[in-house]
Symmetry: C2
Subunit: 156 residues, 2 copies
């Protein structure tokens, strides 16, 4: 990986990172849903018309997965990786075929470990928006971040 | 779908539903990670040995996705579908190749809509465990549930 990596020492609340877009085609929505979320409003554009969503929509889990892809590619460039302990997710509006999703990740808080030097828990908010700037997912996560010389597997 | 569907009227706190197992092979873990979470501890069993996880692990988003598959298949048999507004997820331990995952979903609370008859928000806790009964994911979700005669697209 040639991207510029961020260590604990480089991070502070208010920092923002962005990535995207990734476009979700009708075919991609159907393929994901057949494997992981086989419900008519995700797998069948015609049947979807009479459902709660009144049309074909992506699984929220696909929105989460492509959000993760954008975080790994560019918007969460942490040395040692993007390692989440837990997340809160909301999906305020559905993703529809052809939507182009982007993410913005903001560092909300950094809490240093009291027992492990060079390690902290970062609280991060990742907002996923469509091509109209409408929010389709908000994720707040707790991630492990490592200081220089404290990344597992990297030489000190 | 021939499965027995549950309506709002059929649900009450304390009810539990189960499904699984689904086994995550090394190949499946790598395939998911290459698309959605391309980090060495997910994509490269050899390189994973020196990472935080000290070995090859599945993406937490894959655990979430296969959990959803088990909910749709059997453990969340709600008329009108499994429609989540938001979730909280924790991953207390990683999923490793060969792990066979199962889910248990418990209804925690049902809050009837004050404005929409025949509709409620269910609070649900879904626990995903491996073949040793160890918890790999806990999800608490808010889902829309529909009463008989109030499912979108179904005749009254």
């Amino acid at each position: 990986m040639s991207k510029n990596l961020f260590y604990l020492d480089d991070l502070s609340p208010g920092m923002r990172f962005t990535a995207g877009p990734i476009t979700l085609t009708e075919e991609a929505i159907i393929a994901f849903a057949r494997e992981y979320d086989p419900q008519p409003f995700h797998t069948d554009p015609e049947a979807a018309k009479t459902t709660f969503f009144k049309g074909h929509v992506a699984s929220g889990w696909q929105t989460a997965a492509v959000t993760m892809r954008m975080l790994v590619d560019a918007a969460m460039p942490f040395a040692g990786g993007s390692i989440g302990l837990g997340v809160e997710l909301t999906w305020p509006r559905p993703v529809r075929p052809g939507d182009a999703l982007s993410v913005e990740m903001e560092v909300l808080d950094i809490t240093h470990s009291s027992t492990k030097p060079g390690r902290a828990i970062a609280t991060l908010r990742t907002t996923t928006t469509n091509q109209n700037g409408e929010i389709v997912q908000v994720m707040t996560s707790k991630n492990i971040v490592f200081g220089r010389g404290h990344v597992p597997g990297q030489p000190v």
